[in-house]
């Protein structure tokens, strides 16, 4: 993407005001996705000066600022959530790329094949937007485009076990399908992503387990419930088969 002008505001209020007062302006995270866009925009708004690069823990939540890089998240949150956050980004390019990509950009862009979104969804993540306030990741994934600034990502610490599975043609290629199963404070959550549409929860799979079903039965329930589509990396029918395997394996790995 080509920007005619560039600003780096120092307050959120200023950033938000600029976003709304300049039609066509774009928020800049790590710019890795934006870089591949060939359009021209009148204004790029750099979020790097807002101090959103903190990683903090409250009694209940892990809070990641939107400007935290994937690498910072990996190196400081490795011992949390059975290492699932690390596992979810370990195949994303290499370390140099993960030094640049922001957590905020990754979540805000709702990238379909994202591994991280699947894990965050299973963990019942909440998103803090500057103007619209708090919402669940699930709500955000189903929302029309939102012209607001994502400031923080809140991940509840109450998850006792989580396992993540992902499948790709080659190691750092995009995922063909991924799945996460988490035993959270508010119950079992099973998420499947890269369908190639963005991650979605499978209520049917969780219900199945809650009613005493086996991981294999739960996997069948998720494959029946969720939608899968073709893209040039794999067909929808194949993705459905992968769903059977990955959900079962995630549940078994998590000991559920």
């Amino acid at each position: 993407m080509i920007f005619k002008e560039y600003v780096c505001p120092s307050t959120l209020a200023e950033a938000y005001e600029t976003l709304w007062s300049h039609p066509g302006s774009v928020l800049l995270g790590g710019c890795t996705l934006l870089r591949r866009n060939t359009r021209t925009s009148p204004l790029g708004i750099d979020l790097g000066g807002l101090g959103l690069n903190q990683i903090t823990k409250t009694g209940t939540d892990l809070i990641l600022g939107a400007s935290v890089s994937l690498r910072e998240m990996e190196t400081s949150c490795g011992d949390l959530f059975d290492g699932a956050l690390c596992k979810a980004v370990s195949a994303l390019g290499g370390i140099p790329l993960r030094n640049v990509i922001t957590v905020g950009g990754t979540v805000a862009s709702r990238f379909g094949t994202s591994d991280l979104l699947t894990v965050l969804l299973a963990l019942d993540t909440r998103l803090q937007f500057y103007h619209s306030g708090l919402c669940t990741l699930e709500e955000y994934l189903n929302m029309p485009p939102l012209r607001d600034i994502l400031t923080e990502i809140h991940i509840p610490l109450g998850c006792s076990r989580i396992a993540f599975q992902s499948m790709r043609n080659a190691c750092t290629d995009y995922a063909l399908l991924n799945a996460a199963a988490a035993d959270t404070a508010c119950g079992l959550r099973i998420a499947v992503g890269a369908r190639p549409m963005a991650a979605a929860l499978s209520e049917a799979a969780a219900d199945c387990i809650n009613r005493g079903g086996t991981p294999a039965q739960a996997a069948e329930a998720s494959a029946a419930e969720l939608k899968f589509a073709d893209n040039h990396r794999a067909g929808g029918a194949y993705r459905r088969e992968l769903c059977l395997v990955l959900v079962e394996r995630a549940l078994k790995e998590a000991g559920i």
Binding site: N169, A170, D173, Y174, Y238, E241
Partner: protein
């Protein structure tokens, strides 16, 4: 040997990684015009009109060239020895475009921004035509791509049928022989096109030097052929053009066509200005050339005792929009693969290249041999299973041995078939079997209910330069400072070829690497060389350097006798001459005496005067001695996802003498890695209108470190009597085995055959499901 056979560091390695200004772009004049192509968005179209007035008004615009501006000189851009086998089916620019990305206009301006802006303002009116985007539909299709085609050589082309070239070769009666076979395999294999994905994209710049020589500095593979093509297309005498190849950041065959040079030279010719063109990654991937995709039908018959008695190969290859290297690739698919099995009674080959509206095929490491080797080796493995014989035993029963001949081997004549004079392939197979742990792993081992590991193997051969075509000259000079300079037209593409040539010269002159310089790949200063293709630099260019260095040494001994005024036998250890009676003369004393008048005016006075010594020599021969390899793969297959994970790979190589073990090892590893990507995931995708979708490294995945298993590389050296110090080639043969060895390992693990590359998890799972359905 002191220098040959040593792991000498690449002479330019450190300089290149330290960022010294050695690559084309580093060397370009700062005021070079920026030149770009406006490219066709259509796979097939006729241009009705081009309006460039608005574009020319952009500040900083200098020149826009379109088809009406160019003399219609039919030519090929394949940079290969003259007379080229490739059909002449291109003009610089034409009123017809035949693939998405075909150049429509050459746009030159002061800045990149001006050029990009201007490109948006050029109005092209296209009459869009229906393209051919399926190569299996191209033959005799009512849509025809080319009318004007000229050929230098009989290549059995037929533009009206979309045939760019065809190549038949037969020995014996295959059908009669197949009736005698106890088992026959008839299989069809699909091998896909592939992108070169070299680090440095295509680029070159041109300028007039002080004297008015049109000078081109190009990241290319064959400066002499570039010079000839530019001369032909622009009608400038060859001697008024100089082409220099600087350091090159990878090529793999992809830079063996003149995509850029004639166009920038044209701009320089018209404007008098330096001009530079740099392809961005997208252009480099989608608008240059690819490995030829092919469909290969194999019929292979075998007898109970394990003898392969007949093979038929029918190749349909996709040359894309133009026919660069079309015939050569068909020939290599025949000559560099089939001679491996020598006990055969009948062998039959037919290959045809068809035009389609897709990105042109071109040279790519393996050059047809890679594709047909995959088909032959998969069929050989299928045959072994059908006959109930271990695949290793089948190979050992049939492979060509030292002293054996084959009708398709390069260098044969009506007087007799060529023979193989060096091979350790049988030993390579034994060694690979041991390295992979075949005896304890074959055919497979269960890990858990879902995962199983299998092993598979295959063998391959290639050639060393093109017999009966490739010529390399070299010159070696003794400098008055005590160093030697090698002048060679060979093109080092980052492979270490220049290091190898220096090693060969140093060895012959009993000196060390420090004392040998090389000036290479510059039509203005170095002797002719065919360039870097056909695995020829070490073998052919190396032979020329060796002969020249040996000649120089003989001259030097003669000179020392003159200075010592002796007729005695004389020895030279690199630093000092010694006669049998004990008279000595150091090299530096010698040089002082023959260089400066004051020391010994008498040397200059008489007839026997000794000028600065220099010797030239040439390599050019009918043969192309094959290197051999045996490859062994261990894979893990997940039965439920179809995922194939590479666990271990052992490759054992007979490249004759290993001139530089370190450089040889990285050649092998690099070739294997490219072969693994080809086997498992590299795939070029097009949309319905013929636009290549694989236009970045996120859309075209090449192997990353994590995709690569443990690799064990070993050498079983032979000594090739026609090679420099016994060396053969190495660069291409190392690409061949992974795909077929992995295919066989998958079969041994889960019992399914994957006859279409790449073997993606989706295809593997579909094959497993199909097999379950049959049971």
């Amino acid at each position: 040997m002191n220098v040959v056979h040593q792991s000498v560091d690449k002479i330019d390695g450190m300089g290149s990684v330290l960022g010294r200004p050695v690559y084309a772009e580093d060397l370009a004049p700062a005021d070079a015009l920026c030149v770009k192509f406006l490219r066709s968005p259509h796979a097939y179209a006729r241009i009705r009109s081009i309006l460039k007035d608005a574009a020319m008004k952009v500040p900083g615009m200098v020149l826009i060239l379109i088809h009406q501006d160019c003399k219609p000189v039919l030519h090929t851009i394949a940079a290969e020895a003259y007379p080229e086998g490739s059909p002449y089916d291109r003009y610089l620019l034409e009123d017809t475009v035949r693939y998405v990305g075909d150049p429509v206009a050459v746009v030159a301006g002061e800045t990149e921004q001006a050029v990009l802006e201007a490109m948006r303002l050029i109005e092209v009116d296209y009459e869009v035509l229906t393209p051919i985007l399926d190569f299996e539909q191209a033959l005799d299709n009512p849509i025809v791509l080319h009318q004007d085609v000229f050929t230098n050589l009989p290549i059995d082309n037929d533009p009206a049928r979309n045939i760019a070239a065809s190549f038949p070769w037969t020995r014996g009666d295959v059908d009669a022989e197949l009736k005698k076979s106890d088992a026959v395999v008839k299989s069809t294999y699909y091998v896909q096109a592939q992108l070169h994905a070299m680090t440095e994209t295509h680029r070159a710049f041109s300028y007039y030097d002080a004297r008015g020589i049109l000078t081109i500095v190009s990241s290319c593979q064959s400066p002499f052929h570039v010079q000839r093509i530019v001369s032909k297309t622009l009608e400038i005498p060859q001697y008024k053009i100089r082409v220099i190849k600087p350091r090159v950041g990878g090529a793999f065959g992809g830079k063996n066509s003149t995509f850029i040079e004639p166009f920038i030279a044209w701009v320089t010719k018209l404007t008098g200005r330096p001009a530079q063109m740099i392809f961005d990654r997208r252009e480099s991937l989608t608008c240059t050339n690819t490995r030829h995709g092919m469909r290969i039908r194999v019929t292979m018959g075998g007898k109970k005792d394990g003898t392969i008695n007949a093979i038929r190969l029918e190749v349909l290859a996709n040359t894309g929009a133009y026919g660069e290297h079309a015939i050569d690739v068909l020939a290599v698919a025949c000559k560099n693969t089939l001679p491996m099995y020598a006990k055969i009674s009948a062998v039959d080959y037919y290959g045809v290249q068809v035009y389609t509206n897709m990105v042109p095929g071109g040279a790519y490491r393996g050059f047809g041999g890679a594709q047909s080797n995959f088909a032959i080796e998969c069929a050989a493995n299928e045959l072994a299973h059908k006959l109930g014989i271990d695949p290793i035993a089948l190979r050992k029963k049939n492979i060509i041995e030292e002293g054996e001949s084959h009708p398709f081997l390069a260098g044969g004549s009506p007087a007799g078939d060529a023979i193989v004079r060096s091979t350790t392939l049988a030993r390579c197979i034994d060694k690979g079997r041991e390295l992979i742990g075949w005896d304890s792993k074959y055919p497979c081992r269960e890990l858990d209910g879902d995962r199983v590991r299998g092993v598979g193997m295959s063998v391959a051969m290639h050639g060393s330069s093109i017999g009966g075509m490739d010529v390399a000259d070299a010159e070696v000079r003794l400098n008055y400072d005590g160093g030697y300079t090698v002048f060679s037209g060979a093109s080092d593409l980052g492979t270490g070829a220049e290091t190898i040539l220096c090693q060969i010269a140093a060895e012959a002159l009993c000196t060390d690497m420090d004392h040998v310089w090389i000036v290479a790949a510059d039509t203005g200063t170095t002797p002719y060389d065919k360039g870097a293709y056909a695995s020829s630099s070490t073998y052919a260019s190396g032979n020329a350097v060796l002969k020249a260095a040996q000649k120089l040494k003989a001259e030097l001994l003669r000179g020392a006798k003159l200075v010592l005024r002796t007729e005695e036998e004389i020895l030279f250890d690199g630093r000092c001459f010694q006669t049998s009676s004990g008279k000595t003369l150091s090299l530096s004393e010698y040089l002082t005496k023959v260089t400066y008048w004051k020391f010994a005016p008498d040397y200059f006075a008489d007839e026997k005067t000794m000028p600065q010594l220099s010797a030239s020599a040439r390599h050019g021969g009918p043969t192309s001695p094959p290197p051999f390899v045996a490859g062994f793969a261990e894979v893990e297959v997940d039965r439920r996802t179809g995922k194939v994970t590479l666990i271990d790979y052992a490759e054992v190589v007979d490249c004759g003498t290993v001139i530089n073990p370190k450089l040889a090892r990285i050649q092998v590893e690099g070739g294997l890695v490219q072969g693994m990507g080809y086997a498992l995931f590299e795939e070029i995708r097009y949309d319905k209108r013929g636009r290549m979708l694989s236009d970045s490294y996120t859309e075209y995945h090449i192997p990353r470190r994590l995709d690569i298993p443990r690799m064990q590389v070993a050498f079983e050296e032979s000594c090739e009597p026609t090679g420099p110090y016994g060396a053969k080639s190495l660069g291409e043969v190392v690409f061949h085995t992974p795909a077929s060895a992995i295919e066989e390992a998958i079969y041994n693990a889960v019992g399914v055959r994957l006859r279409s590359l790449p073997m993606t998890p989706e295809k593997v799972l579909a094959a497993i499901r199909e097999k379950e359905g049959r049971q």
